[in-house]
Amino acid sequence: MNMNDFSATLLTCALGAYVAGIVGALLFQRAEKLANGVGFGLAAAGGVCGIFACASSLATGAATASQSFALFPSLIPYVRFGLRADALGCFFGMVVSLLGVALSIYSLGYVRGYYGHKNAGVLGAFFNLLLLATTLVFLADNAFFFLIAWELMALSAYCLVSFEHEHAETRNAGVLFFIMSHLGTGCLILGFLLLFQASGSYGFEGFHALGDKMPAARRNVVFLLFLIGFGVKAGMVPLHIWLPAAHPVAPSNVSALMSGVLIKTGIYGLARVCFDFLGTPPNWWGVTVLTLGTISAVLGVLYALMEHDLKRLLAYHSIENIGIILMGLGAALMFLHSGHPVLASLALIAGLYHTLNHAVFKALLFLGAGAVLHATHTRNMEDLGGLAKRMRWTTLCFLVGAVAISALPPLNGFVSEWLTYQSLLQGFGTTTSLIRLMFPLSGAMLALTGALAAACFVKAFGVTFLGQPRGDHARQAREVPFPMLLGQGILVAACVFLGLFPTVFLKLFDPLTRQLTGQQLSQQLTMADGLVLSGGPAQGGTVSTPGIALMLLCLLPVPLTLWALFARRAGTRIGPTWDCGQRGLTPQMQYTATGFSKPLRMIFKALFRPRREVQREYDFSPYFTTTLRFESHVEEVFQTRIYRPLRWLVLRASRRLRALQAGSLQAYLIYIFVTLLALLLFAL
């Protein structure tokens, strides 16, 4: 054990707590309250240990490469159950532990909704297993161990997605997740085998900078395999279709974990492979990642705008944010190619800081959606409304999350997008070829994404929480229990701190960039005692989120003085909303979520191909309708144009192949014999 002893012990404690959580939750599954308390309590404890372990080894700089220790001895050759807490792993470990704490506390309240009709113990056990497996994915130092943890993660996630398996929608989503996930794993296995061929071992240490020693063609194949394998997990367009299906149907605490951390394992994998294993990248890798990131960002937010299912909307936003993260990583790859390690570090920091930020605010939003679901039993925004008066604290938390995800100052989404803009703009000078136009153009697309995200969250927040309730469930909603609010509160605090004090957190990235690009940027990015964030050594510009927050407060006396000067005697009356002289407004007269996004549906109709059906029955004239039925659909291009034909092909091919599997034993024996013969001939 040559790693920082303190961190290693804590890390082992964290993993132990998760294991104890699995056992405890299963043991007490008959007593659901106890199972809930033990399962999620231990998960929270494990998360706390994990945060301290990872943050302390990042902060003390102990988290460097090749600091690893064996978790337990292995009897199988090539496999070593070793953990290596290097900077990259520690950073992601910190993200998962942070969310683990907030989500476990939230779950203590949320799981009460399942008492009596679902098994809380099983939920707690799988939740702990998922946390354990995800932590191991980030810390594994051996390809075999990594793949085992990876599969464990996929399987426990599958079980959690299918937790409410009595609904057909949930079962279908679970199967889709399962298939896509294994498609990705298949690519990963091939990729690792190719790496093994070049290095002769499965240890990550042997893979370091291996790409430089490999033939170019093989290196490109490895890159593509990993891009597909990790891209599926990250939800990168066009491999994203499982994500909006699987995330909404899972229990909300699990959705938050999946959107917050699980898809980040794809980002971790890409960062690990591209920056650690594959050496100096050719230019097209970065161009590909940047392009895919830009497409994912724009398409993700556009599809999110068309949703009126609160959790599906959030799931599509995960695709958008993965796109923004990939823009940072892609730009970093391009800068590494052109020999600008400082800029590459800036872009990498931008991408990874957004990873952390997205984990925090997306989990917060999913918890808010979960609270709404808990209180109203519906995810359909068209039945909601007016919750701001009924669920005050949840409303406030969701609003903070909405402002953060829309990249509005002074919260954390703004900071990481600011860093992304800076790296893109400074990237313009790194090359003289036409390819440099990509940087400002993807910057413009990032601006479009940000503005559309703001539109989407005006819709999501406005329709769900503001106005009049559109249904009985919303009218009778009550505030959720305290643990659920506490879980959200932790994440709200994280959003605020990550937004207002980015320079503090940038120090944690120093060991990370030292490991991956050999640079250390936090000094250069910090100005004025950490109050101002600078765009880096090339003087890209400055921003100060604490300054902005402070100035907003300092300017407050201006309207207050005006109030005191002019409006001292002005009174306030409560009255009805103006109803054009008709008698009373009904909740149905409000703008709906579908109506809100109609202009965008029309503007982007080439993409959405909207169609609608209106059926009306009337007595005298069309103006006096008795019943009205309205249906509106948008087409998901990837589903109908790529995956449906693909599925058809696969099914047809399997039908053909069925002839081989006739069920006769003699035929099978012949197959075995022929295969053996062929292999022997091949060996000769």
Binding site: G386, A444, A454, G571, Q590
Partner: protein, 313 residues
Amino acid sequence: MNLPALVLQLLLLLLLAPLVSGVIKNWKAKLQNRRGPRPWQVYFDLAKFLRKDMVISEHTSWVFGFAPYVVFLSALLTGLMVPMVHLPAPLSLFGGVLAVVGLLALGRFFLALGGLDPASAFGGMGSSREMTLSAIAEPALMLAIFTVAITAKSTDLSQMALSTQSATWKLLNPAHVLAFAAMFVVLLAETGRIPVDNPATHLELTMIHEAMLLEYSGRHLAFMEWGASVKQLVLMTLLLNVFFPIGLAGPGAGAAALGISLLAYLAKLLALSAAVVVVETTNAKLRLFRVPDLLSAAFVLATLALLSTFLFH
């Protein structure tokens, strides 16, 4: 940070913004053979709004009362980040163009929420349209700014102005001219001017900005209106002083230079207002679904600007 400069710029923002709106209204009326309100009428309107009682809808939550302050304060804060009469701007260090755009978006976010809160169909309509059109305008706005930022190698507005100022010939650079044109179109859209929105009408099914304000009254309305006019002044200043920084006093300028700079600024402001008036009078309001064409034209202009920086260097 220079405190007197900050206070002076704050006062200039607060006082000049309504006047610019008033001047545009007055000149527009003159051009249409009407007498029109006096340019300083807007001040009286604001004072009247401030003094009036408020009627607040029974359906609203705290968000409704919170929104006017966010709109007003975020607009004022952006004004302190943009250089008006001297370089650098008082709060230049606190954020450049990305912060300005972000803060304007923050104001817009709460403005749109304020529109949705009273549960009226008009407010929702306004919010929906505002968020849609601003989203479509955003790439053009950013790309036009990036063109200048890339040349200046900084997103700091004062740096950008200095870099444009340092070589006056750059003003006639095709990149610069194209970016200026794109930015002008965005200005019309963002301030709700005629080809996009009509600031003069209420209760018309085509209204955007006014629809969101429909339920606001009293001092809330005053802050909303004032915030909107400050935002308009900020965007105009951005266009004038970053893309066309002639006469702008540099760092360490004396009183005389500052005076000249103020005069130059006012002259440029009046010229730009005149341009807005001419556009508003000679054009009809576009149908909502034609506006994206206009804005994508602005995006194409900005892309061309970017391409020409590539070609002419």
